[in-house]
């Protein structure tokens, strides 16, 4: 099989495409002699690519409406088009995850980490991990809560994996779509300085869900207070990342609309976490001990009456 791959003709596209597939490729750009896209780290390479694309012209301008600021030079039916969404190194993914865990006021997640290069690797695999984390933790926590009960028979509850997958992936893709549509609509009415492409919004949402993975694992602890504190902490961190990202995009708008947008974003986020907690994790019974001591009395009383 490897021999067949070597014999296949390899298309050498323009500089950005070949750099996307092979970061160490030497490429020549005749347009701008001052620019050397050969061996540069990620962000600089990204800005070089954008200059390149602007000089190349607007051939696929209709395809770039969805991806403002990041033009893909391959048509969307080729494999290379999708490879540009996975053009991240390990350290970049880790940096983005760190950025989503430590929201610093004034530092915009998108501008700092993603502006050069939105990726689909992070959102997709973080969502996949979150799906299994929620399903498995929910199953474990239910098992631990009902451990002593005689009538409890352990079931793996595999259905919940598909339900969790539907919820998480719908949230991670439909909410950014709605938000992007809303921001585009407001952009047509009010001139905003900052505008995000659809991929960047998906990226922010995907990485902001990372905090819920350790939260879901810690939700195994069957204490209501602990669980709600975890909800508050996770919501605080990821909500603030989202709010700080989208505040510059709605700042110039009508005061009420911008506040409503930010509140809506945080509200949907909270709905997701509370909903997952309520559906996948059984409530820990507060009166577990009294029922254990009550049943022997009841059986004794029943024996007396019979």
């Amino acid at each position: 099989m490897a021999a067949v791959d070597n014999l296949r003709f390899e298309e050498f596209g323009d500089a950005p495409t070949s750099l996307a597939t092979n970061p160490d490729a030497t490429t020549i750009s005749i347009e701008d002699p001052g620019e050397t896209p050969k061996h540069q780290p990620g962000p600089a390479r990204g800005s070089g690519r954008e200059e390149d694309d602007e000089l190349l012209g607007n051939d696929d301008s209709d395809k770039t409406e969805l991806l403002a600021g990041q033009k893909k030079s391959s048509p969307f039916w080729t494999f290379e088009y999708y490879q540009t969404f996975f053009d991240v190194d390990t350290y970049q993914v880790f940096d983005r995850i760190k950025g989503s865990l430590l929201p610093i006021p004034g530092k915009n997640f998108v501008r700092l980490y993603i502006r050069s290069n939105p990726d689909l690797y992070g959102p997709f695999w973080i969502c996949a991990t979150l799906v299994f984390a929620i399903a498995i933790s929910g199953n474990l926590s239910n098992f631990l809560i009902h451990l002593g009960e005689k009538t409890y028979h352990y079931v793996p509850e595999f259905r919940k994996v598909s339900i969790a997958a539907t919820i998480i992936y719908a949230y991670a893709w439909l909410v950014p779509l709605a938000l992007w549509g809303f921001l585009m609509w407001r952009n047509s009415k009010v001139m905003n300085i900052v505008s995000y492409s659809f991929l960047e919004i998906v990226c922010v949402y995907g990485y902001s869900l990372f905090i819920y993975i350790p939260t879901a694992i810690l939700w195994i602890i069957p204490q209501k207070a602990v669980r709600w504190i975890l909800v508050m902490i996770a919501l605080g961190i990821s909500g603030s990342v989202l709010a700080m990202t989208f505040w510059p995009a709605v700042r110039e708008d009508n005061r009420r609309i911008s506040m409503a947008t930010i509140v809506m974003i945080v509200l949907l986020h909270m709905l997701l976490s509370v909903g997952c907690l309520a559906y996948f994790f059984d409530a820990p019974e507060m009166d577990h001990l009294p029922t254990a001591t009550a049943t022997p009395n009841q059986t004794v009383a029943a024996a007396k009456f019979s």
């Binding site: 099989m1 490897a2 690797y121 695999w125 996949a128 991990t129 498995i136 352990y154 793996p156 259905r159």
Partner: protein, 195 residues
């Protein structure tokens, strides 16, 4: 091996069915050995086949079934669910690896991922045997230990074959989905409870 078979094309048509089957079985068995004793060799990649993964997937899915009538209340994975998870999981990991810029072909990667389920299938066999004994915490600890060991073996075997095909700065990105894949399968094996 491929060119040789073309030369003797007419003879493989005329050979007995037993020869054909034995040749395929020997190829599958040889790959099983490579998985059990992972070395950096190219045999698994060069002559890929999907028979082994199919046999392993069907065996695993069959063993994860309970013989009960009310299987809806069971909550365990159905036959189709196991199948879908294994094959769609393998396809997703392969696509991910190719999108990240790996130079392994689609079916080679499917072949490797499928064959490296072998340790987990062995773990499933052992778990079923252990479950014939009386239930209890010791029973569970034994199963947990076996599943953990086999899970680590699967990961080591598949990374031995797959890691080289990735550019060095993206190895962790390509290996993590493999880890998640085998973790989910191990979870399905560990939580198997007979009726």
């Amino acid at each position: 091996m491929r060119s040789r078979s073309r030369e003797f094309d007419s003879s493989t048509l005329n050979e007995s069915v037993q020869n054909t089957i034995m040749r395929d079985l020997k190829a599958v068995g040889k790959k099983f050995m490579h998985v059990l004793y992972p070395r950096k060799s190219n045999t698994l990649l060069r002559d890929w086949d999907l028979w082994g993964p199919l046999i392993l997937c069907v065996t695993l899915a069959l063993m994860l079934q309970r013989g009960s009538v009310d299987s809806e209340k069971d909550g365990g994975p159905q036959f189709a669910e196991v199948f879908v998870i294994v094959w769609f999981g393998a396809v997703t990991i392969t696509l991910n690896s190719k999108l990240l810029g790996g130079n392994i072909s689609f079916f080679q990667s499917l072949c490797v991922l499928g064959y490296c389920i072998l340790p987990l299938t062995v773990a499933m066999l052992i778990c079923r045997l252990v479950l014939l004994a009386e239930p209890g915490p010791i029973n569970f600890m034994v199963r947990l230990f076996v599943v953990i060991v086999m899970f680590a073996w699967s990961i080591v075997a598949s990374t031995a074959f797959l890691a080289d095909s990735q550019p060095p700065n993206r190895k962790a990105l390509a290996v993590y989905p493999v880890f998640l894949f085998y973790f989910v399968i191990s979870w399905m094996i560990l939580t198997f409870t007979p009726q």
